[in-house]
């Protein structure tokens, strides 16, 4: 009998299969190791759950990782009611982890030791794929699939073909994970990885920082991918050792059990040489037009710059922003540079932990002096929730997840998506500006 070589995704998938290893109608029952839920989309399933008159199977409430991050804090009476419904349900069902106003669910998840590598994670939000950077199969579902998981302990899912994505080369210092994510969407296309898995392999000498990897995995869903997972390596090992207070040696033994088999292949593959990558920008109102920022028509004037969401707003993004401010200071021989007066600059750390660390590192003070408003960790204007909604015909440069028409304001408003470096530099000039102009 021929040996079956399995890639990394296939190994995790097999671990998650609950019950019969043979699919019924093409579907396997998969038992998630963790169920991520957030305030509005859990509140949406509460009545259905009650009507089922079922108890969660034993242990399921212990797998739940719930966060109040969308309406955080609520800005209307209706949203306060939604939050209350979510919190009441979480209390009644004895949900193990409920984090209120501590940050964006996807960031809180990857900061938690509950999010284990090599596990199957599901969530009530499309950007659950972010946790793929932890070498996990992490996928988003709608509220009713989450209802099914809460009621039965499993979801039914297909096994998808895998596209192997190999990163090589040394990226420029002003190129970030958001640029890499945009490059992946540009190369694969919107929906180009529909019903596929993206398995990332970091073969760069410098290794991609874990915060940049979260941003890359986050972007996978815009290609339509089921999940976008990084292969486990030394970067992840060090991150987890620090996060979980465990020794690298101990975790290393655990890692070796899960490596892709030598000889395992992919259904298709793609190579990305990061040395040739320049800062990228997605034009309104989708991801069909992504180009180098330097190739954008000159002088796109901005009303607002937003840096945050689950696509960015991590500690490394704060470093990118402040390094950019330092470079501006050097170039213009000023000790403190200021943003363009007309531009509103909103910066949102993606978690409480990042907020505190950015404060201790002096990043927040530098950004506030530059002219930024620092908001509490939450989803904010991404998804048109609050704390930075656009007006008629306004233009925003955002580092957030999506640039769809009407997502952050009226249909006449426009959203460009770029990296924190491009964003902070553009807040300085008042128009979309390529980082190459400062980092020469």
């Amino acid at each position: 009998m021929a040996t079956i070589y399995r890639n990394f995704y296939e190994k995790i998938f097999e671990l998650a299969v609950a019950g019969s290893p043979k699919p019924a109608g093409g579907y396997y029952a998969l038992a998630p190791g963790l169920i991520l839920g957030h305030d509005p989309l859990i509140a949406l399933l509460v009545d259905d759950f009650r009507e089922l008159r079922r108890k969660m199977p034993r242990g399921v409430n212990g797998k739940c990782f719930f966060t109040a991050d969308h309406f955080a804090p609520p800005s209307t009476i209706e949203r306060a009611g939604i939050l209350k419904k979510f919190l009441d349900f979480s209390a009644e069902e004895k949900i193990r982890t409920v984090k209120v106003f501590e940050g964006i669910c996807h960031q809180l998840l990857v900061e938690s030791p509950q999010a284990r590598p090599f596990s199957f994670i599901i969530g009530s939000d499309s950007h659950t794929v972010t946790a793929g950077a932890l070498a996990s199969v992490a996928a988003g579902y709608g509220s009713m699939d989450i209802l099914g998981a809460l009621a039965t302990g499993a979801v039914r899912e297909k096994k998808y073909p895998v596209i192997g994505v190999r990163f090589t080369g040394k990226k420029k210092r002003f190129v970030t994970g958001r640029d890499i994510g945009l490059e992946i969407i540009a190369r694969i296309g919107e929906g180009g990885a529909a019903n596929r898995v993206l398995e990332y392999s970091d073969e760069t000498a410098a290794r991609i920082h874990i915060d940049d990897r979260f941003s890359v995995s986050n972007a996978s869903v815009e290609c339509g991918a089921f999940t976008g997972l990084f292969r486990p390596d030394a970067v992840l090992l060090e991150y987890l050792a620090k996060r979980d207070n465990r020794s690298v040696k101990e975790l290393g033994r655990y890692f070796s059990d899960y490596a892709s088999d030598v000889g395992a292949g992919f259904d298709s593959s793609l190579g990305i040489d990061l040395s040739g990558l320049n800062p990228r920008v997605a034009l309104p109102h989708d991801f069909s037009d992504i180009r180098d920022v330097s190739r954008l028509r000159r002088g796109v004037a901005l009303d607002q710059v937003f840096i945050g969401s689950c696509a960015s707003g991590r500690l490394l993004d704060f470093k990118y922003m402040c390094d950019t401010l330092d470079a501006l200071g050097t170039r213009y021989r000023k000790t403190a540079v200021k943003k363009a007066p007309r531009v509103r600059l909103i910066v949102t750390p993606s978690s409480k932990n990042i907020y505190l660390r950015a404060m201790r590192a002096g990043y927040l003070e530098k950004l506030v002096n530059f002219g930024a408003v620092i908001t509490n960790p939450s989803c904010g204007p991404c998804g048109g929730i609050d704390k930075g909604i656009l007006g008629e015909n306004e233009v925003c440069l955002s580092t957030s997840t999506r640039n769809f028409r009407g997502r952050m304001g009226p249909f006449s408003s426009e959203i460009y998506i770029a990296s924190p470096v491009t964003a902070i530099l553009s807040a300085f000039t008042g128009k979309i500006t390529p980082p190459e102009e400062v980092f020469k």
Binding site: L41, L44, G142, R156
Partner: protein
């Protein structure tokens, strides 16, 4: 909608490629008060008796996982969505709201000829051996289109029940 056994009929609403969830139901209109949800693409609040069927292009429903989007479609009398391809979460969400997601057969759109908004369409579903999918035949006026597309078997079962909540109640 006229519905008997494994068929349904409605009026066509034609959409293009990459129609995302924010366009279908704006995030500003999110609510958990389900009766308030409706879709402006389908004429807003329900009231008309006839059901609608979307005919969409590639990557239909990309974007958010918000279940409110498909509840808005259900409230606005959408019975089925035909598309060249669906975004994965949206396709599941449609079925979970009792709306049939039909993937068009490769190359079929080139044979449909002139399609007008509000054309009447009838869809007939046939379970295929093994149950992994249901094939869909269509009638557009006097024209017949056998094997227009297919619905995934599991998603068909959910939609046929009226949605995931009903499916779970039935499969206790």
């Amino acid at each position: 909608m006229k519905r008997s056994g494994s068929s349904l009929s409605g009026r066509l609403k034609v959409l293009g490629d990459n129609v995302n969830t924010d366009l279908i139901h704006n995030p500003f209109d999110f609510t958990i008060e389900r009766k308030k949800l409706n879709c402006e693409l389908l004429g807003g609040p329900p009231g008309k008796k006839e059901r609608s069927v979307f005919l969409a292009g590639r990557n239909f429903g990309l974007g958010s996982s918000r279940f409110s989007t498909v509840l808005a479609l259900r409230n606005s009398n959408l019975a089925a969505a035909l598309a060249v391809s669906f975004s994965r979460i949206f396709e599941r969400n449609l079925a979970c709201a009792g709306i049939f997601p039909v993937k068009l057969a490769p190359g079929i759109t080139g044979t449909l000829g002139r399609i007008r908004e509000n054309d009447a369409i009838r869809l007939v579903f046939s379970r295929q051996p093994g149950g992994s999918f249901y094939s869909v035949d269509a009638g557009l006026g006097s024209r017949r289109f056998p094997a227009l597309g297919a619905v995934d078997g599991y998603l068909y079962e959910i939609a046929e029940c009226g949605g995931m909540a009903e499916y779970l109640a039935k499969t206790k």
